[in-house]
Symmetry: D3
Subunit: 254 residues, 6 copies
């Protein structure tokens, strides 16, 4: 790790290098989905819903196992300047597909699909405000939505044992002006050299590591520091997920 000695190094947000943004997980955000969470990482806001369907995709039929999959989207004006609406353009971008595949894989990594039975949980993560870290917020919020959906299946006696083996959460880390930092917001993300998204379980094991040097390639030593920051951040996020899930689900009034 190099340091920027002339001017005192600081993050645009004023956070210390190892600080998450303010995180909230609001359960029962919309009323029809089996699980529905508004997750915020600072100004980033994502609606995560988990929908249970009593069927599986064609390639899974008759295997006695369930399926968990995810789709991701962003409202056109979630960002500083308006982006195209993917439905109007007629296709999802490569970036969108990459993210929704990542969310799906991350959730499946903590699922015992046999215990889910031959049904699907379809997760939708829709970004209503984007300030960096949307895929990490999506995974972190989606886990809570999926847990609520599974709790519903247990409560209704459709399954007798939870298919969820562990929590899963995600955070970004990166090299900002030569120093490793946790949970990049948009101003950091757009000027950092290296950006890494890390997905880990409650037990502290890795599910996904996706690091990209957009500027200067990074050394093995940098990598070790980044992974340590990620481990710390995810431990904090998993604690917040547990706290949120420990509350009673808010009642919905007509």
């Amino acid at each position: 790790m190099s340091s920027n000695s002339a001017a005192p190094w600081s993050r645009p947000s004023g956070r210390v290098a190892s600080a998450l943004r303010s995180v909230s997980l609001q359960r029962g955000f919309t009323r029809y989905a089996e699980g529905s969470v508004l997750v915020t990482f600072g100004q980033t806001q994502v609606i995560c819903t988990a929908s249970v369907e009593e069927k599986v995709p064609g390639f899974m039929k008759g295997k006695g196992r369930g399926w968990v999959t995810a789709e991701y989207g962003m409202l056109p004006r979630a960002t500083h300047t308006r982006g195209d609406r993917e439905a109007a353009r007629g296709k999802q971008s490569g970036r969108t597909q990459e993210i929704q595949r990542l969310i799906g894989r991350s959730l499946r990594a903590v699922f015992d699909l046999e215990k889910l039975g031959e049904r699907s949980i379809h997760v939708d993560c829709d970004v209503i405000q984007a300030d960096g870290g949307t895929r990490c917020a999506s995974i972190t919020g989606a886990f809570v939505a999926v847990q609520d959906a599974v709790n519903g299946l247990l409560a209704r006696g459709l399954i007798t044992e939870s298919p969820i083996r562990d929590a899963v959460a995600a955070v970004s880390v990166g090299m900002y002006e030569g120093q490793p930092v946790l949970d990049l917001d948009y101003p950091e993300d757009s000027s950092c050299d290296t950006d890494m998204n890390v997905v880990m379980t409650g037990a502290g094991n890795f599910v996904e590591v996706q690091g990209t040097a957009e500027g200067v390639p990074f050394s093995r030593a940098d990598m070790n520091e980044l992974l340590a920051l990620a481990e710390q951040g995810i431990a904090e996020l998993v604690r917040l997920q547990r706290e949120a899930l420990a509350q009673p689900l808010p009642e919905q009034t007509a």
Copy 2:
């Protein structure tokens, strides 16, 4: 108008025939758009943003006039059962296109596009919860978002006179079990015979009338009653728009 004399007639929601649902218009709902409103008509919730772009579409170039257009979408799990994501299916449904064309026309009906100058206001209406009346809520909320965007242009001196000639709002009316009712929710909408969406100006003139008999065709007398209900409902919605716009725009804290 026939009446259902055996059992006392009542609406599923218990509302009287001429009652709107509870309506709210929350300005400044997201932070990047020039206008951003969360509109609710009962359980129906729509995020309406107005984005200003300093250019016009190709077919409008060089005419010295502006353009106002709209796109509409629905989160896959805004509804009771999950619907397809249009971006994933690769095209917008006929229903989506019909609605977004209606929103755009309705807003343009109260705009003097020459006073807007050669710039565009792009409205996005994204339904996060759907309980009937999403197109009417979208138009009603979008007007407030567009007014905020225009106020911003005036405040920054980019235009000196407002291009907005009048307010515009929309409401549905229909024949529910033989009686005309105002502002149908989903249980009413899915079982009613006739559904009419009415868009009117603050001055009480018609911009759009779209009535469809899904069951029994309706008489001229029914139509007169429905239009009277709509006039009353829209007067109330325009009053709520004015109240919302009379408040100071909430400050956004980082």
Copy 3:
């Protein structure tokens, strides 16, 4: 209603305000469809065919009821300047989808789908020359084509009772230079303030009302005048449908 007192008001075509264009309904226009009608409203010409298929779409299967649906198209050079071919562009425009949905709903409004049995009538309306009013001509002609297709089913003993409850026809009305007029042609349509398409049954009830103020919003008094004109025009169209259907179907020689 305002009037244009300086110059004497007149329609581009010289018609009086309440006059339809010359209308013709030529049955048996093409030889393979179960019903085939060339409808003309002045220079507007539409080929309407009704095709019977002994199956229903997936969402209707096993319900013992039939289905009536419609598609609409326009030859690229039906218009004054050549338009894109939708098949080549790879999608139907929003306008096309709106119109074909309207035609399908209008026909279904006079159908008892249970009496049709589990089969479909697929209507195609293809405009070969467009001079305004193509959707109204399509509905008016399609009804005759559908009646011929139903007559064929009855003649072949596939059904014993007609599923058609009433006639249906459509006409446009609008405010042209401040005065309500019936059956707008293209020069009127492109310069009028308000354009309303009205679909009514033979019994004089409303199936669809779609009014749009493209310029100045219209008052309730204007609306009443427009609806009265539409009622008169549709009564005339229904009479012409009956006359056409009273003729023997022309024989086709090989």
Copy 4:
């Protein structure tokens, strides 16, 4: 050439082997296109329009030469059973593309594109009734429509010399039950072994030859007989084109 000696050989239509179907070329069929022809080959009916545009496609710009191109379509119920509408399916079939490319090449073969100047002629061939031979009827009718469009350019002084070097027409030939026949209708086409579409100029030279053995491959001797029949048929079609063009263009009454 083999012969079918047991039962006397005959064509389904009763025509002799070298007979064309009844052919008509109705000019001025629709009123807006610069050239508009309804061509019929027996029951096959195609509307051919030629639209002049004062620009060329991007790849032709600035070369001082014009362009001639074609699109082809078929109304869904032109055929015995209803086919999909290509605009609704969202793409043109391989067959459609093959045919429209053929029509375009055939017309360009008789054009001096430099004499046309930097403008385009866009031909549309839309089949309203299909009984075999639609691509040949299209080429034959399109030539007449294009000639009318060119005559209009000459009449208006936009060009001073005709860019058309020769007539072009097309006919199908094939082996039907072992014997070469001219101008196959649908019953012959669907059961023949070999089908060949031949496009020739007024001077009797070949522009395109597309022969396909759908059953038994054909010999060089068969080929010689087929080409001789085609030469005779095209000479007759070119004569009919000349006769049609020798008539005054019908006046269009409003």
Copy 5:
């Protein structure tokens, strides 16, 4: 045939008019397909694979017959300047569709689909280097790949009799500077007046003839000379196919 007397006529490649380019057929080129051939016609190189699937397309089901079909593609930089990747553009060009339909028809012309049983052979022809004649090389190579796939079915006892009735091969001929030539390479193809692709069987009968005059239409005498050249070229190609198939299939080492 005219001759170019001033300067001595010669082909860009120096070949005599009736000479094929150097042709090779390398069997077992890739290891997973049931048949896999790299075919070269001079600098033109195409990978042809034949894949056996134990099912038929929907429209063929339950008829006890098999199906043979083909797809064609070109690597973006197979050509002198890079072309678009069709998968990225989202559709196959009209040219690609025309060619793959031709390859499929040509192969089916020598197949007895009943003897194949209810299974498919899916041929893929992918051009890795293009110097003219890619569709002819594809057909010629695909036949060898398909024969290897059929030999595998026979060896595994899945069929007891070969469904292949005869060999099939293809070659181009054309008028180059007024003289008929065999097997055009790219420099000849891009400047010739007439280009004809001829597909014939081992027995010397025609399967497909596709001739196009891109410049001057061609006479019947030209046509006769071109067909004679094609017959000679195809006899040579069929001999090379037989020689290649007479070799043992190369063993593949892990």
Copy 6:
């Protein structure tokens, strides 16, 4: 790292854990591209071409900098069972887009785009045989193709200084039956718990790390071992790239 003590652990290929497959880099594989390499990692074979275009995409215009981008494809029968052709399906899969974005980013990481000048290098990686590791082979081969293209620009004097700052190569590592292994082939890849693709520079720094636990999440200790293996493997691949580039480019004979 756990070990599998009952049966002796071995890889399906018999390779030791730290062994690459046999790697070859054949330059000048096709003749038209500015750089063209056939890269093989064991049975995996990819054609990598680098095409130079004297323009940049729209979003890069006028910045005085160049662009490097990549597209990826797979022949339908590169795999054990035939996959869909993406051009025929009409879109690239999410996996394809993910891979081609990765290849492009990896190459740009070693490029000084200002030294390239306002031109593009378009890389195409087309898999003709797939046995695992296609994205890593693509990156490793593409670097050599791009170097050849740059050498050509230098030789022709279009640039005076190489824009390439360092070599770049890629390799996969993973946990196979509890042990970290280098360069997974298809049998290992389809049964391993963790798969990580690592892209590094010649100097030994990281460009991309993409690790996914498809089964059991992996520990930090596993990760350290995997990264060490990757470092060793990439050092070997960079050495092979240098050796290949040290040879003279093979001459191409017509």
